[in-house]
């Protein structure tokens, strides 16, 4: 994707800035940046499914929330589960779910795909909500251990930020790398014309299944990180609202661009924080902003920036 002269300085400046954040930002701002990068990975997996496979997920919170719950239950019930293992556990459970549900999902596309993801999301959400003995239901789960990582206390916001940054960085890199692989190309061909991809001889369903599993895995990772970030989880991590948020983020940033989810989650987190500080009806303005973006900048914020150049 184009202009290397422009990208290299940007990338260096971005990384330097990202490393310096804990030193230059006040505490609550650092918290927001941490939330932004965690949500960015989640939004990236959503965008990846739509952009690489043409699959519109309407129940993406399923993987995110399940990752969060699985890791928290792990930290609560498995003695001595380390920080990284907990995060990985969240990712693996969500990935496994992606694989299992994917077996049913791959046969569908378009609106029907979206609706089946919604059905699964609601199904699991209802179970999590009602199964109070394990999940805490409406009360959620808190007070789970936050183990140190290599002697670094994760309770320190700066440490937690760096670790998140690293995990998210690796996640984003793998997501990017995926698009460069032959498998990524097959997924892209499915998106543009599923019939033809099938006709050429690609195993369309298997490719979709792998895409769903990968997306589920990384959603789970970001969900697990989010759980440690909030130090508390409730059904809001797995409900329809969360599935909507991720859609907003991806669209605001720009579906067609690699950095779209990051920009989108940045705008989303900042805007919701900012708007909610002076009106209780912030979602109204959010909806308005969203409509305006879809109407006038269907390629998102990055779409506007790129067009001007």
């Amino acid at each position: 994707m184009g202009n290397k002269k422009f990208y290299l300085p940007m990338a260096i400046a971005g990384s330097v800035l990202a490393i310096l954040f804990p030193y230059i930002l006040p505490k609550f701002q650092l918290r927001m940046v941490t939330e932004i990068i965690i949500m960015a990975l989640f939004a990236m997996t959503w965008k990846m499914m739509l952009n690489e496979g043409g699959l519109f997920s309407f129940g993406h919170a399923l993987y995110f929330g399940l990752g969060a719950y699985a890791s928290v239950l792990g930290w609560l019930h498995i003695k001595g589960l380390s920080f990284m293992s907990g995060i990985l556990l969240g990712g693996l459970v969500a990935g496994l779910l992606g694989l299992i549900l994917g077996a049913f999902l791959v046969r569908l596309s378009g609106t029907y795909f979206a609706l089946l993801t919604l059905a699964f999301n609601q199904l699991i959400w209802a179970i999590v909500w009602k199964w109070r003995d394990v999940t805490g239901g409406d009360d959620g789960l808190g007070k789970f251990p936050k183990p140190d990582l290599l002697g670094l206390s994760m309770k320190d916001p700066a440490n937690f930020y760096y670790v998140s940054l690293m995990i998210i960085g690796i996640g984003l890199f793998i997501c990017w790398y995926f698009t460069q692989t032959p498998l990524g190309n097959v997924c892209a061909s499915i998106k543009s014309n599923e019939e033809r991809a099938k006709f050429i001889g690609f195993n369309v369903n298997a490719s979709k299944l792998i895409l769903l599993t990968v997306a589920g895995f990384f959603s789970g990772i970001s969900g697990a990180l989010y759980a440690q970030f909030q130090e508390f989880i409730a059904t809001s991590t797995i409900d329809l609202g969360m599935s909507t948020n991720v859609l907003f983020m991806a669209f605001i940033g720009g579906i067609g661009y690699f950095w779209g989810p990051l920009i989108g989650s940045g705008i989303f987190v900042y805007l919701s924080e900012y708007l909610s500080s002076f009106t209780a009806r912030w979602e109204f303005f959010f909806g308005l902003v969203f409509i305006i973006i879809v109407l006038f900048a269907p390629q998102g914020i990055l779409g506007i920036v790129k067009k001007k150049k």
């Binding site: 378009g110 609106t111 609706l115 089946l116 059905a119 009602k130 979602e283 109204f284 109407l295």
Partner: protein
Amino acid sequence: METFVIQFLHGLAYGMLLFLVSSGLTLVFGMMSVLNIAHASFYMLGAYFSYQMLKMVGNFWVGLIVCPIIVGFLGILMERFLLRRVHAGGHVQEFVITFGLLFVINESVKWIWGTEPLPVPIPSALSGSVMIVGSVYPAYRLFILFFSLGVLALMAYILLKTRLGITVRAAVSDRDMVSALGTNTPFVFMLVMGIGTWLAGLAGVIAGPFISTYPGMALEILVDCFVVTVTGGLGSLLGAIVASFLIGQLSSFGILFIPRFAIVFAFLLMAVVLIIKPTGLFGEKA
């Protein structure tokens, strides 16, 4: 035995209400392939408008006629100024713009009418109850039942017997061909959107006294409505009837026998139907 009959009738009343809402949704989808998330918001608007009308005019029946028309008009505006503009961008864009609208309408409602549930009294003519197999049954629910059946008959008549209905059915099966044959499809779309939201508004007005008027009512019915349209088959009116009936009974008897997991079964039904027959029970288009 009595409990069963009463529970069955409760389920039937809720099922008919669901049918009124989902029929609009499924009609619009069949025609334009747009899943209108904001549909539930129009339903809620119907309920709130009716509350306002009751406050200003003091007559439920005036509201029953006027409010759905206002809601339908809003639906037409939405088609004309939002959906049509992004139509070229594909279904994803159309889908997400209705999402934004859902937020805007839901929050506006909270802004204007507050977040507390609003009391909408049952119109005096229907406030009594009827004796059915030896037990008391509220007359208003019977009214919902018969009123919805009336609307169903009207819709069936329009779809099967009128020129508009023929055009709509033709456009559902092949939109481009109908357009090529000289029908002004954008206009028909607008009309169908109007009728669809009118139905939602109508359901909202009669839902007011039935399940009370509150800001969460949109999201609540939205989910049930999805279950109905998807299970019945997107775009299929017959499917909407059958699925509404099923979901109505499922929620009514589910609460009686398995209150804790009643909510799970509706989604399970939807997931199972989609897995076995992705187009729903009566859907044709894949």
